[in-house]
Amino acid sequence: MTPAKVHRLGYVLFALFTLTAPWVLPLFVDGFWVDIYSEMLIWSLLAASVNLLFGYVGLLSFGQALFFGMGMYGVAIGVAKIGLGFWPAFGFGIFLATGMALVAGIFAVRLTWHYFAIITVVFSLIFYFTALSWKPLTGGDDGLSFSMPPMFTFGEDNEISLTDPTVQYYFIVTCVGLCYALMALVLRSPLGRALVTVKENDMRASLIGLNVYLIRLTAFVCAGFLAGVAGSLFAFFGRYASASYMFYHVSGEAVVWAIIGGVGTLLGPVVGATLLITLREELSHAWEHYLILVGVIVILVVVFAPKGLGGLWLALVNRLFGGTKAPPARAEDAPRATPKAGPGEEKP
């Protein structure tokens, strides 16, 4: 088998698992893991938005929670305050997040590297504090809960709504899957190549006639869209929106998921989010201060596998199946770290 085939097999297995999870997961573990798995998929979209910016254009954003929060509040305010139906509210949330990303991006992408990281934090903090103090609209610290509007209604009392767990699961899977497909499509297009060019060397990119500013802005808006979809889905998932999800700690967590999973790989964020949320769910019952362990794992990954688990996986596949290109980042680390990476790569 060639490495490409192994990767394709991995994708197929992952897709199969995701599609059959509502039946497969309860065979092995408690039924609530289906719910947690859909939550992981939602969060992985937020990590994917960090990945799109950091892994493909080289901009480290510490403010993606802003667009997540915009999507979340778009849905919650749309349903609870404006009285929108399901689809208009969903659209409103995504529209709000993407529009916000456009406005913020016009200013933010003028800066790069440290300055970019800091201005994205500042923007998200401004709106965090605004959401916190604008109680009549956002509910402030208490948050804003709403009751789920139906997706479709047939006749008098037949309706399809997310209150049915199976519908909710497949709705989330469909949306997340579409987002990843869209991202893969964009990354393969000429625009995707341009993104990587800008990341590798923005001076050369501008010399061969690429509009660096516009490319960065496009990526920023796309990332805002991904985060917005994640936020809207999360609002539907929890029937709830709260300012606390806009705080910069949420953005930080997304950055950690993306980097643990491996930036610059399409599904790395899913692996990172899945692994760390599984750790959270499993360890939080066993040990109250499990976060210490999470911190240790984060540091270990950064020190020993700077390309993340996705990078380890690529190195492993290349080594086992005779890949000739792209040797492992640190040859001596790959075999030693493999047992640790194993459970993360298989979907739990």
Binding site: F62, I119, I126, V294, V298, I299, V302
Partner: protein
């Protein structure tokens, strides 16, 4: 009017404490190229250690001497175990220090507890100042901060280690070639950064609350001071910290504190966009 003076004064005092903490952040950033997300938690560890010293010895003044020393040791240890291995991947410093921040917060929550605690200031008297009764401890806190900042600048410009630090920051390769032990300089720099944040914690603990989340609130403010003052411009950091806190104090006397915070954040984004190299760029060099 009295409220404006009181909050403005509080702002200046708070700004001096922030300046002390932000200086630590600034040298770590300037010398090691590490964006230290855990710096706010170094401050928080300082407040908790101060509380601990007060609980065990009953004497708050001891904390002013013991806590910076503990901070220095912890900083050296962290540099050696966490920062040194990622030196060749500075982009990942944000993630590594994020992990560090989680560890510090969770350790404090496990040992100290989750509930915020207030400390009684060691000096409880007040003096009449500008027509109001002002707490002596706050004046004392400002004095300690100024003294520490002056000592730090003296150290940086008058001692061998300080000269080494400036040399390594200017050009690490030439400095190493000239025989300066760069690794030791990195360790000392990080340790001093931690010690300054911890001292800031001791000074601030009786004014604010001792809380495992205190670092999360203070971190953006320190970064603002570093950025507005200009990355690597240490004098600018001090000036920006005092100005920002004063501005926020004055704003807070007219508006809700959250609105004041939003105001200073907006001010900061404007500065970042118009003068990304700080408001003092060009003034010093």
């Amino acid at each position: 009017m009295e409220l404006v003076i009181a909050l403005g004064m509080n702002g200046i005092v708070w700004g001096l404490i922030i300046a002390l903490i932000a200086l630590g952040l600034s040298i770590i950033f300037g010398l090691l190229d590490i964006i230290n997300i855990a710096h706010g938690d170094f401050f928080m560890v300082g407040t908790v250690l101060a509380w601990f010293v007060l609980e065990t010895t009953g004497n708050y003044w001891l904390a002013f001497f013991i806590v910076p020393v503990i901070g220095f040791a912890m900083g050296a240890l962290i540099e050696y175990t966490v920062i040194q291995p990622i030196k060749n991947a500075a982009a990942l410093s944000i993630v590594a220090t994020f992990g560090l921040s989680i560890i510090l917060q969770e350790s404090v929550r496990g040992t100290f507890g989750a509930a915020p605690t207030r400390l009684v200031p060691p000096i409880e008297t007040t003096v009449p100042l500008f027509g109001l009764e002002y707490e002596v401890y706050r004046l004392f806190a400002a004095l300690v901060s100024i003294a520490a900042i002056v000592v730090f600048f003296g150290f940086l410009h008058r001692t061998k280690m300080g000269t080494w630090m400036r040399a390594v920051r200017f050009d690490p390769e030439t400095a190493t070639a000239m025989g300066i032990p760069a690794r030791r300089v990195y360790i000392v720099t990080f340790a001093i950064g931690f010690a300054m944040a911890a001292l800031g914690g001791v000074v601030a603990a009786p004014i604010t609350t001792v809380d495992f989340q205190a670092g999360v609130d203070i971190l953006p403010f320190c970064f603002m001071a570093v950025i507005i003052g200009g990355l690597g411009n240490l004098e600018g950091t001090v000036a920006a910290a005092v100005m920002l806190a004063f501005f926020e104090g004055i704003m807070a006397s007219f508006f809700d504190p959250t609105i004041a915070r939003i105001g200073s954040l907006c001010l900061m984004s404007i500065v970042l966009l118009i003068r990304p190299h700080g408001i003092f760029a060009g003034a010093t060099r």
